[in-house]
Amino acid sequence: MFSSMSPLSRRQWLRTTAAGFGQVALAGMLAAQERRTTRDPQNPLAPRESHFPVKAKRIIFCFMEGAMSQLDTMEHKPTLQRSNLRTGPGGGVLTASKFRFAQHGQTGTWMSNLLPNMSRHVDKFCWLRGLHTDTPAHPQAVIQLHTGVANASLVRPSIGAWLLYGLGTENQDLPGYITVNPSPNFGGATNYGSAFLPAHYQGTRINDAGQMANLRSPISNSLQRRQLDLIQGMNRDFAGQPGASEQVDGVIQSFELAFRMQDRVPALLDISREPQAVQDMYGVRPGPQGSFARQCLMARRLSEAGVRFVEITQSGWDHHSNLHQGLINQTSMVDRPVAALLTDLERRGLLDDTLVLFGSEFGRMPTQQGPDGRDHNITGYPMILAGAGVKAGYSYGATDEVGTHAVEGRMHMTDLHATLLALMGLDHEQLTYRYGGRDFRLTDVAGRVVTEIIDS
């Protein structure tokens, strides 16, 4: 659809010039409301017209890498609880959860006592309880969750890259797609890459201390400003020569933006600027125990600043063994921060246009593995949505009575992608990119928008 960039006339170029993350001189003119249908090749990240009415402007994805055991946290299965140590359907020995479940909120949603703080928010949740995916192994499933392909030997753009490609970004002074603390394996950079989409759509990686590459000036600020003025003087001379490449104007813009980012981005990522009470609410503390709390707070600050897609990651859920203590440790690191994130977003009115997605690449089995573990389950598992565009206190889909297979409201990974795009205002069948002679989609040839969950 938009694979080749047609050259612009110089005048047209000067009117709309901008680069990289953003438009500089004309940022005011291009307010968030103004969207265009044609793609300006020199400003590929300018906000773009959506296909559908926009339900959510941005997404925060809390990724529980490793497959959190849903049956011990958020999927209450009375039959399973009664069938401890019996043979399950399809083989294996059923093992009841050792954690206590109780009902919460007006919806009476069952949650286990591992997630006491998140339980206070159940009436905001829109549950997807009938998810299924294709490969019961982390590497492939993580890649499929992020890029849509079941065949992990294919390199495809990640969902955040598709969103930027489709929508542009709201805040032209910031990266539109940020991934904090992403998995160092299971696809690594593929999970936030742009593959055949141009590189400006790829995710920007920052670590859980809020550090981004090349943001710190090695010389004093005033000296660097002088240096920048010299560079820009040379660039303007170069751009002014007859026959100069139009791209040079973009280079000029990119330097101004970079200089401002140096100032703004570290401040934005510096969570110590938050009031102590807010830091405490999230449970911010140093070290790995506080990693996810810091990420949640960074995610709020980034979303508030208009970053289109923010992903934060807590790994360590792969409980083939040590399920009991492992879950206690893991949930203690995510329960409070996620609840705080929801509270904070709500207080600031951000939950009206920000969508939060919480979940793993797949779920775990109701049967036991070893003395204290559960194996992978790709045939039925839940994820949680909350906030913009989705029905609050709503549950879609279900697994069978012990929680092995999705039997109602089945949603394949591809359907999740189609639905997320729809919530952001994009038609997954129209959002295509021509590469090597074919129009590619995030959802390839499948995908159903699950309209049932969309708040109209």
């Binding site: 043979t87 399809g90 083989g91 890649i143 590459a213 090349n214 990119s254 090597g436």
Partner: protein, 837 residues
């Protein structure tokens, strides 16, 4: 068994002829399938599927939800032998007669269930047949039409370009037929080419284009002052003869070859020997290896004759092209691993040489181009008949060296570079390790399955398990010593498999769903006369290589000529570099493309000769001026009325910084930092990744030699649109983003080169600042500073230096050196430094 059709091979295209008697399923079979569905499948579903199906992790590699899964079996071999329950492991397992294999592990099947499974196997293990879509094998009239009409698939025309060039016979401007063909189009649009480029511009352009490096000020001056008629030709010949040329143009090919030094994908495993392919490519361009031979070697180097052992080794290394792609080694099912790798090979081969995307036909007939599924599997049979030797096997959830398989490596006999010297004590160490292993094995065998072995150790584990671990450890130590991979005398590549033959169409691309078998063959979208059929006793790669490299193949020379043109003009004559199909772009100048393709072949497929002809044309030497009237008619300059500016590639930017700082190490490294890696999964935050990143940061060598582990692209390459290593890249993006500016302002690499450049300038004895500023301009921008620039630079240096004297020093450098470093960094960061025109 699933072959519903027999197949006949007619001329160059393939037809699948339905076999009359196979179309209806005999009633007897219907009853057997009914028995399976009613009695057997429910047993699998309720007792086995949770551990042994595609939806679960298929313990022991076995799946019972697919007939192939049972007949091929898991790690223990076939689970069923249709017709022979006595030989079927599955029956032993459910009867629990064996000493170890007892399934299900936690309960027993009923006698009736066991009897049903036994009966089912005895009666041939019937399974519902895969439905073959009716469209498979059906001739497509649209395809026939396209084959006859689409421009790219027609023979190269030797006459049209001549008559077009003849229209410009008297044009004074033209020096070459290339110019005449360009001029003919310009005349039709009534625009004249702009003036020629000035000499300083021209030498900077050609030096970057041919070598990826800037010209030294002396070379610029020599050329500017050389008044002989052959001045430019001399420059060109010097550049074409330099190793730097091969490093630059070899890198272009590595983009096409999606070169990477690891598998990427879900588990990133290193390819420690991939660098040999990198060196092979550079050596090939350096020697100006005829392109047809280069193609043949990469497809079938192992099957080509070789005069010397060195040549044989090089040809084996060449086949690395076929296996260096992204691979999902964590794939559970071997058949999927094989077919996914074959798909990657077909995609790479067809895009790289033919600018055709055949991989669409894996699942269905190609929607746009005339590539039926049968053609895809005709090619697939060639690759399934070849061993994929990347030193890796598939396994789910493996750890350590589980994925490493040294038997899947090619042994080299005569290499010396990158080979660890033989340890004189090696023989003795091997003997010792072998003895240790034998001892551990004997101990294990002694207690295995005996009461002594089942006794528990202090840690609660059975003694035989401890003994097994000890034995495995000793085996690993022995393997490490005897593995040729650890000495480095191996290469990645392919070889013919022990069993070669045709393969089946896979329904909807699903590896397990077998349709009719198709004879091995080539794509029917082009007709290549004089190419024989597949040699039935080989894989067919040699025949494929000859088909690809035939002078009668209209795509191969056109695609390569287009790639060469693109690297000299910034855009291809066909701008969709890797897609000459129906959805690709049309050639802007088809006569010129055919002329170049013919010229490539007429010159013995010499890449250097074609490059030389093009850069000596007047078209290449045009200036960069852009009059308004021209822009109005052809804003993108597709007609070549001027020379378009281009941004340097990532490698050129890095290499140029090192070069002007006099830090560039022009030597070729021995091997690559990845050669030291064990074939163990790498994490981006692990110590191995850290070491590779450090080596990349430390290196002052040309960028083509940096380690290129997938997912760990060195920063200087990553920021400037390095090639995606996941697929064939004929054309990189040129993005302009703020991280590039941040990199230029703040990255330590850029700072180091700026300071080195400043030091280089300041050590010039007795030079005035104005001379140093001129030298800095000549080095970085290939020209003199003008008066305004000189004044600005002098003011900047003076201002910064005086301010620095007032500041508390942050570095050990004095204010003058620091000021010059800040100034030279500005030059390196300027747009002009990274654009050539």
């Amino acid at each position: 068994m699933f072959r519903l059709f027999c197949v006949s091979f007619i001329s160059s295209s393939i037809f699948l002829v339905p076999h009359a008697s196979a179309q209806t399923i005999p009633r007897d079979d219907e009853a057997k399938i009914d028995f399976f569905e009613r009695k057997v499948r429910p047993i699998f579903a309720s007792h086995c599927n949770n551990c042994h199906s595609a939806n679960t992790n298929s313990k022991g590699g076995l799946r019972v939800d697919d007939r192939n899964g049972l007949t091929v079996g898991g790690n223990r071999g076939p689970a069923i032998v249709p017709g022979e329950p006595g030989k079927s492991l599955l029956v032993q397992a459910i009867r629990k007669t064996g000493s170890k294999l007892k399934m299900p592990p936690d309960h027993d099947l009923t006698e009736q269930e066991i009897a049903d499974i036994t009966t089912w196997i005895k009666n041939g293990a019937a399974w519902p047949k895969v439905r073959v879509p009716a469209a498979i094998g059906r001739p497509n009239p649209q395809y026939e039409k396209l084959r006859k009409e689409h421009w790219a698939w027609q023979p190269i025309d030797g006459t049209k370009w001549k008559s077009l060039a003849a229209t410009q016979r008297d044009a004074q401007w033209a020096r070459d037929d290339i110019d005449r063909l360009v001029l003919a189009q310009l005349q039709a649009k009534k625009i004249a080419p702009v003036n020629d480029a000035d000499r300083a511009t021209l030498i900077r352009r050609v030096t970057f284009d041919l070598t990826g490096l800037p010209p030294s000020p002396k070379k610029v001056a020599d050329f500017v002052n050389d008044e002989t008629a052959s001045a430019f030709a001399k420059v060109v010949d010097r550049l074409l003869g330099s190793v730097a040329f091969a490093e630059r143009w070899g890198r272009h090919w590595l983009d096409v070859a999606r070169y990477g030094e690891s598998t990427g994908s879900g588990r990133n495993l290193p390819y420690p020997h991939a660098w040999r392919y990198r060196d092979y490519v550079i050596d090939s361009f350096n020697a100006d290896k005829p392109y047809d031979q280069f193609v043949r070697e990469q497809i079938a180097g192992d099957l080509l004759p070789a005069k010397t052992a060195e040549q044989r080794d090089a040809q084996l290394i060449a086949t690395g092209f076929l296996v260096l792609g992204v691979k999902d080694v964590n794939q559970r099912f071997k058949v999927r691993f094989i077919m996914d790798n074959v798909d990657e090979q077909i995609d790479t081969v067809t895009r790289a040489f033919l600018a055709t995307s055949a991989s669409c036909a894996r699942c269905h007939d190609h929607k746009f181009d005339p590539i039926p599924t049968a053609d895809y599997y005709a090619l697939a049979g060639i690759f399934t008949s070849s061993d994929h030797c990347a030193g890796l096997r598939n396994k789910m959830g493996g750890g350590g060296l589980d994925y490493y398989d040294p038997s899947l490596l090619l042994t080299l006999t005569n290499v010396s570079v990158g080979v660890k010297s033989a340890d004189p004590s090696l023989e003795a160490r091997i003997a010792h390790a072998r003895a240790e292993f034998e001892k551990a094995k004997a101990e294990f065998d002694k207690i295995f399955q005996k009461p002594a072995g089942k006794q528990l150790n202090a840690d609660g584990k059975p003694k035989q398990m401890i003994a097994r671990l000890a034995m495995t450890q000793k085996e690993k130590e022995l393997l490490a010593l005897t593995d040729p991979g650890s000495r480095g005398t191996v290469a990645l590549g392919v070889r013919d498999a022990k069993v070669v033959g045709d393969t089946e169409i896979r329904i909807r691309g699903e590896a397990e769903k077998l349709g009719p078998t198709v004879p091995r063959g080539f794509l029917s979208l082009i007709h290549v006369p004089d190419v024989g059929k597949i040699n039935p006793s080989q894989s067919g790669r040699l025949d494929l290589a000859n088909w690809l490299a035939s002078p009668k193949n209209p795509l191969t020379p056109r695609v390569m000529a287009n790639r060469i043109w693109k690297h000299l003009f910034g855009q291809g004559i066909v701008s969709s570099m890797d897609n000459f199909g129906v959805t690709g772009d049309l050639p802007t100048n088809p006569e010129l493309l055919d002329h170049l393709a013919l010229r490539l072949m007429d010159n013995g497929w010499s890449v250097k000769k074609l490059i030389r002809a093009i850069v000596l044309s007047r078209t290449y030497q045009l200036g960069y001026d852009a009059p308004k009237e021209h822009l109005a008619i052809d804003p993108a300059n597709t007609l070549h009325w001027r020379h378009s500016q281009r941004r340097l590639d990532a490698e050129e930017i890095r290499d140029a910084m090192l070069a002007v700082a006099e830090k560039l190490d022009r030597s070729r490294p021995v091997a690559s930092p990845t050669a030291e890696l064990k074939v163990i999964e790498m994490r981006n935050n692990g110590p191995e990744a850290k070491r590779i990143e450090d080596e990349a940061i430390k290196s002052n060598r040309r960028s083509v030699y940096l380690p290129l582990v997938r997912g760990l692209t060195p920063r200087p390459l990553e920021v400037f649109d390095f090639a995606e290593q996941g697929f064939v890249t004929g054309k990189r993006d040129t993005t302009i983003v703020a991280p590039q500016a941040l990199y230029l302002l703040n990255d330590s690499f850029v700072r180091q080169q700026s300071q080195a450049l400043a030091a280089r300038l300041l050590k010039t004895p007795g030079a005035a600042d104005t001379e140093l500023i001129q030298l800095a301009y000549r080095l970085t921008l290939g020209r003199e500073a003008n008066g305004k620039e000189m004044e600005r630079a002098k003011f900047f240096l003076g201002d910064v230096e005086s301010r620095l004297r007032d500041e508390t020093p942050t570095t050990k450098l004095d204010a003058r050196t620091t000021a010059w470093g800040v100034f030279t960094q500005a030059l390196l960061a300027s747009a002009e430094f990274r654009y050539v025109r």
